[in-house]
């Protein structure tokens, strides 16, 4: 029993300890003029879906969940957001060349088609981020059209 108590105590101390390690927060008040929604004519339903399903990890501004300040969840979020923004940042859309835009749009379609995005670990809590079949179709049609008109 003693050993169990020690282990629990060590874990508790470690848990409290890691709370003091700072993380970078992805938040911004302003939307740059290069934003995807500002430079494209995006229908309202698509705008809303992008905001809810994509922008948390693919823009400079994350709507954080309640557990965002608790470690180790905060690390997990930070990591995903960094990776997401490296891959595609909707806020910086218009700084991409036509070639890069075409590549990104193609990837968006593939990711939604295959159900890889949004990530399961994200939709687990953000259930409204999931794509219904109709929503996926609407999004894919819009993105494809955008690509064809580049």
């Amino acid at each position: 029993m003693r050993i169990v108590k020690i282990i629990v105590l060590v874990l508790l101390v470690a848990f409290v300890g890691i709370q003091f390690i700072p993380t970078t927060r992805n938040q911004s008040d302003s939307v740059p003029s290069t934003d995807f929604m500002l430079v494209n004519d995006v229908p309202e339903t698509i705008q809303k879906k992008l905001q809810v399903s994509c922008y948390d990890c693919h823009s400079n501004n994350t709507q954080y969940p309640w557990y965002n300040k608790i470690q180790p969840a905060a690390w997990f979020l930070e990591d995903h957001i960094k990776e997401g923004k490296d891959e595609l940042n909707f806020n910086e859309w218009d700084s991409l060349s036509s070639r890069r835009k075409a590549s990104k749009l193609r990837s968006i379609v593939k990711q939604i088609e295959s159900g890889e995005m949004p990530l399961d670990s994200y939709t687990l809590i953000h259930t409204d981020a999931k794509f219904s079949e109709a929503e996926a179709e609407e999004m894919i049609n819009f993105i494809t059209q955008l690509k064809d008109n580049l």
Binding site: S97, R99, R100, A102, S103, R106, K110
Partner: protein, 159 residues
């Protein structure tokens, strides 16, 4: 040696000099990647993808015109991203990225040129029609591999 033969030698020598060694390295890695995809070999494709990332990064556009430099930088950036994805994905994903990569490499060659004859081949079935480059006329399909090896045709010869 006849004058004609000497002339031919001189011409081929200048041609060899004008070809871009670093662009040839990119092409060579691209073809190894294509062959790995034809062989349905995910692991090999990933390795060739990594090699391609390295040869793309080593490319030097400084000898080209300003306009071409911009275009080349754009192509290299895009192609590098696709090669990176290929180096860490499963075969379906690798083939998806190979499609856009092939477009990038074709655009690259249209600027840099190449010392060998290339064949642009086209498969109408994969993703509403997809092209790739090959050094051989014979069609071997990198998008389907053994499933549909012969699907496609030569649509353009690049010299």
């Amino acid at each position: 040696m006849s004058i004609a033969a000497m002339l031919l030698l001189v011409v081929s020598f200048t041609n060899a000099q004008s070809s871009d060694v670093k662009a040839e390295a990119i092409l060579s890695d691209y073809f190894s990647l294509k062959d790995a995809l034809i062989g349905d070999d995910t692991k090999k494709s990933a390795q060739e993808g990594s090699k391609l990332v390295a040869s793309l990064k080593a490319f030097d556009a400084s000898s080209y015109s300003k306009e071409n430099q911009e275009e080349l930088a754009d192509i290299i950036e895009d192609a590098t991203e696709h090669a990176e994805h290929i180096s860490e994905s499963a075969i379906d994903h690798q083939r998806e990225h190979f499609k856009t990569l092939s477009k990038d490499i074709a655009d690259l060659v249209s600027i840099t040129g190449t010392k060998s004859t290339l064949y642009e081949q086209f498969c109408p079935m994969y993703d509403k029609g997809s092209a790739w480059l090959s050094t051989s006329k014979e069609v071997k399909n990198p998008y389907y591999g053994s499933k549909m090896l012969k699907c496609g045709k030569v649509q353009k010869t690049i010299q």
